[in-house]
Symmetry: C2
Subunit: 431 residues, 2 copies
């Protein structure tokens, strides 16, 4: 029997339409799942089960009819919450109380959604891992930085969770955990109350199990009308990127196999090269991220160096050593290709490309390689990880869809159309 | 005799070169000025004179040779400071302790600069005024939202101060107080630890009394090489904007007079129209600001409505009533004209336009009209207020220079070249 915690937002909306939605039962079902699985998965940095059971649903709903009333969700511990600590994945800020909600959290609460807990982030959303394990196999990394959010959704603890991406922090954990992860177009959402890392790259995102759910969350936040639409793309661009040689056989087959299925369904596939073929966009991403992260974290570097990881110190020192000219050149290259890509994405509806070099690696010391997301994050376009199968180790494999800047609704429609065709079942709770 | 508090950063750098720079004497001189004038000006939301005198200069300087060692500065109370409260101009957050410095504050401290105090901001950097008076005449508004920073620099309390702009929050108070105010290119600086209002529009900025100083601060923050350069523009575009009829005679004469002086000095003046002539860019700015501010402030709207001003509530409710389509249309219009303006600014070196409709209005209930900055803020280009004279009420008048996106150094060079030619003396302390 399918329990409530297994249902997607779209399925829950259908229950609501039939008058069968029971928010208290849904919360209880999610809490049951968390209680039974959290020891293995460790998705949450902070959760108070007793308080959650005792707390009435968010009392006042000022924004009605979004479909999020009574929906539990997870919040990356990079985002401020007025009633839970926000530690940014750093021992420096353990127990930090922000006194207010980040804008996106407050909006979702105003829609009647309920924060279940704070999900684990890597240190300042960078490379040093948190405690979360991959729900599919706890000996493997869930990816990072939004690792708790990806794992919680993959494990059916919550129907959706919030994340952010600066390099690969949504696409990679979504691919490794086998869920849908969506990085929004740059600049589309308020990031107030979210610890900043790179003003150029930081983007909000959501994890869900059904691509159609993305439209529900977006519409709630934006007062949009895009709910449940699904549309076949006419043309899709296949982009191998300059890093194709770094992709494993299974990652390549995932992309090529998806292209084949799309083609058989009548979609025209065009092979495209995006950006210079020497990996300069990936290198520019590294420059921009290090340069900006150094300036975002200079306070901690100066005042609490002994509480920073070596990875963090190295990133900051790399960034401080870069000159304004090196940074400006990287920004200028990004800008040039961004405009070029906007033009390309008039001719094709979206792109497909690998999400990661392969399955989630074994071990919890690293969150894996961000190589297949850096250039797309630099260019600012919206992207979605769509799980398409499993690799030889039984771990999930996904492909990355990339859409046109600020045309996120279109990309979501295409993902929603593709999921039943090429997506695999996204659920771990087979009870 | 000129006292140290009257000196610009450029003049202080000359003292340093001659081995005559004395940080303790400079701080004492600034503090003396603050003590004698703060009752009239009320530039500071928080300042602890005794502690300041007792505190040694920022101890560790990790970034050497920027020219900011031992330089006191003011910080808009929208920006987090680890050792002073940050109240965002709202009674909701009076006494709020952030526990860390905003990125830009931490960078300046790492360069050895010293925070003197927190300068007054309007409520959440919007329209409801703080307590600051115009140093030129305390019966007149200093403008907003960065009102304390503009007043403190105009009154020679500090050589520079930080501000932010979402509509006109740097250009307008700079024009009203008679100082140089510089709004940086959109996205050029980390805004972490600064209360967000609009992710599209929020920009960092600096107030100084000598345009050359802008290069010193920028280079310190960016690891740039642009210090003290001044360059004559070959061509300048004169833009009257669709709001020219709203400019007073003195504001129009300021722009036209500047154009005439530039022309006599050999600069080619071209008359340009920017954007549609129906004021649609200004209207789009209002849409983007209200829509995004509503999402940035939904927490306060939901939880502390009785502590918000009527102006703030009205802005939020306007924003919540806008649809995603209305917002996206405004963003799309901005994007189109931004690309167009980037092209225009290859043909001319910079633009000149009014900073404000006229002198600072009498009264402290309003911060004046932002009409002449909205469209430029929407387009994201860097802009500088250059004081050029006084109006019939004896209050300052400025003109607005607008440069090419991410070519801020060039704009600063032109402002530095223009200041001796068309700028007026910027100093109130004639002791």
């Amino acid at each position: 029997m399918t329990t409530l915690n297994n249902l997607s937002l779209t399925e829950l909306a259908e229950l609501r339409t039939r008058g069968e939605f029971d928010a208290a039962a849904l919360l209880e079902s999610c809490v049951d799942r968390i209680v039974s699985r959290e020891d293995d998965v460790q998705a949450f940095e902070y959760i108070d089960i007793d308080k959650l059971r005792a707390t009435p649903l968010e009392a006042t709903t000022s924004l009605l009819g979004t479909g999020l009333e009574g929906i539990p969700f997870g919040v990356k511990d990079l985002m401020d919450t007025c009633d839970m600590p926000t530690g940014w994945g750093s021992p420096i800020y353990t127990g930090r109380q922000a006194g207010r909600d980040a804008g996106c959290v407050a909006m979702l609460r105003a829609c009647g959604a309920q924060v279940v807990g704070k999900t684990v982030t890597t240190e300042f959303a960078c490379f040093f891992p948190g405690k979360t394990r991959n729900p599919r196999n706890p000996a493997h990394t869930p990816g990072g930085s939004s690792q708790g959010s990806a794992a919680a959704v993959a494990d059916c603890m919550v129907p959706f969770a919030l994340g952010t991406q600066t390099a690969a922090s949504i696409i990679r954990p979504a691919a490794y955990c086998g869920v849908i992860g969506y990085k929004t177009s740059r600049g589309a959402f308020d990031l107030g109350g979210i610890c900043s890392l790179s003003q150029t790259l930081d983007s909000l995102g959501f994890f869900v199990r059904d691509a159609r759910d993305l439209g529900i969350i977006r519409s709630a936040l934006m007062r949009g009308q895009h709910v449940g639409k699904s549309a076949q793309p006419a043309r899709v661009g296949l982009v191998r990127t300059p890093h194709w040689e770094e992709a494993s056989v299974v990652a390549r087959e995932a992309v090529e196999g998806a292209a084949e299925k799309l083609s058989r369904a009548g979609v025209i596939i065009e092979e495209l090269e995006v950006g210079p073929d020497d990996g300069a966009l990936t290198d520019s991403h590294k420059v921009v991220m290090a340069y900006e992260a150094a300036r975002a974290r200079i306070f901690e570097y100066k005042n609490y160096p002994e509480q920073l990881s070596q990875q963090m110190i190295s990133l900051i020192e790399t960034g401080l050593a870069l000159t304004a000219t090196e940074y400006n050149n990287a920004i200028a290259l990004a800008r040039e290709w961004m405009l070029w890509l906007d033009d390309v994405l008039v001719g094709v509806d979206c792109l497909i490309s690998p999400s990661t070099p392969g399955e989630a690696p074994a071990g919890l010391d690293s969150t894996g390689d961000p190589v297949f997301s850096r250039m797309w994050t630099l260019l600012g376009q919206p992207s979605i990880n769509l799980p398409v199968g499993e690799g030889p180790n039984g771990m999930p494999i996904g492909i990355q869809l990339i859409g046109r800047n600020n045309h996120d609704d279109t990309l979501i429609s295409h993902a929603a159309w593709m999921q039943p065709l090429i997506g695999c079942v996204v659920s771990l709770d087979r009870s």
